[in-house]
């Protein structure tokens, strides 16, 4: 004979992920490392920004970048050419990185061999916002070419972000003003730090590095 029993759980579904994320964050902080989560749409310029950052910092800092994509190692290969150590996670059909995926890569290396860690999340403005990967700062990159409504249309990811980057500011023209995006980001999240960049020309990259609390070589 069997009987039925109702168990009260009251635990978040994300709890297993969040515990790992906290473990990563604590370890990074204890070891005095920096870890940033870069999120944004496909084509926003996340990879080129990371190439610029690696180019500027790799003479002084040991940089480790974890790239998340459905397939290929294109992004990891590009950033590696600028002096960073990179690893590519192919998520298959997965639309976001998780703390477990990050930990599995960190477990393969000696964290003390690096100073600064970046994760380039899978390209979209929806799913990555729900998954804590253990970074100290969450950064969202949007670009002028995504149109003036891109922030309004994706408010949740900005609610949870620490820094918003408006990229491709070099092509800002008379019919488009990045002020719209800047204002939207700060309306959606009070006090949001917004930086206009052009990964192509290097505009704003120094300001971004300063904002991340990294001292120049």
């Amino acid at each position: 004979m069997a009987k039925e029993k109702k168990i009260v759980v009251k635990k978040q579904a994300y709890i297993a992920n969040d515990e790992i994320a906290d473990q990563i964050r604590v370890e990074m902080e204890e070891k005095n490392k920096l870890f940033f989560n870069i999120m944004g749409s496909i084509g926003a310029g996340k990879t080129l920004l990371l190439e610029r950052i690696a180019e500027k910092l790799s003479s002084k800092y040991r940089i480790f970048v974890i790239n998340g994509d459905v397939a290929t190692t294109i992004d990891a290969d590009r950033i590696a050419k600028q002096g960073a150590t990179t690893v590519q996670i192919n998520t298959g059909g997965g639309c976001h990185l998780t703390a477990k995926l990050i930990l599995s890569e960190l477990d393969k290396i000696d964290i003390d061999s690096y100073d600064i860690f970046f994760a380039e999340n899978v390209g979209n403005l929806i799913c990555p916002s729900s998954w804590d990967i253990g970074a100290q700062l969450n950064i969202v990159v949007v670009s002028i070419t995504e149109g003036e409504y891109v922030i309004k249309k994706h408010p949740i990811i900005f609610k949870g972000a620490d820094i918003a980057i408006i990229n491709k500011c070099d092509i800002e023209g008379s019919d488009f003003d990045s002020k719209v995006l800047r204002e939207d980001a700060t309306k959606i999240k009070s006090g949001m730090k917004v930086i206009c960049t052009s990964a192509k020309t290097g505009l704003g990259v120094d300001e971004l590095i300063n904002t991340l609390g990294i001292k120049f070589p």
Binding site: K3, V8, K10, C127, K159
Partner: protein, 123 residues
């Protein structure tokens, strides 16, 4: 489509509960989420059904999702609770404080939570 990942996360936690209670099988799992957690109920149910069809102790079980009201914290007056019903025509989720009318508010995420699990256990 992160509902598959969410379904896996729910099932992984419930597997541990099944083991702890030495249950024969799971009858129902009740979960809750706020309205802005980007959970699409039909996709979550679909993902759940696909996964549990492969699991003896879960096959035929039901997943129930309860949607909870939004909750904000006002950065102006510290009010915590449901936002004003008055929507911002321009900004989705840019909630207005019910107490002081400020739109300087923070949406408190009410992450997908496993509320209860109905098990069939031996006498």
């Amino acid at each position: 489509m992160h509902e598959y990942s969410l379904a896996v996360a729910i099932i992984d936690q419930v597997k541990a509960i099944v083991k702890q209670h030495k249950a024969n099988r799971v009858k129902k799992i009740t979960v809750s989420a706020g309205p802005y957690e980007m959970v699409i109920p039909d996709l979550l149910y679909e993902a759940y059904d696909i996964i549990v069809d492969e699991l003896d102790k879960f096959r035929g079980s039901k997943l129930e999702l309860i949607m909870k009201p939004a909750e904000i914290t006002c950065l102006n007056c510290d009010y915590k609770g449901e936002p004003s019903k008055e929507k911002d025509e321009e900004f989705a989720f840019n909630f207005k404080c019910s107490k002081c009318d400020s739109r300087d508010t923070h949406l408190n995420m009410q992450y997908l939570t496993i509320e209860t699990v109905d098990l069939e256990i031996p006498e």
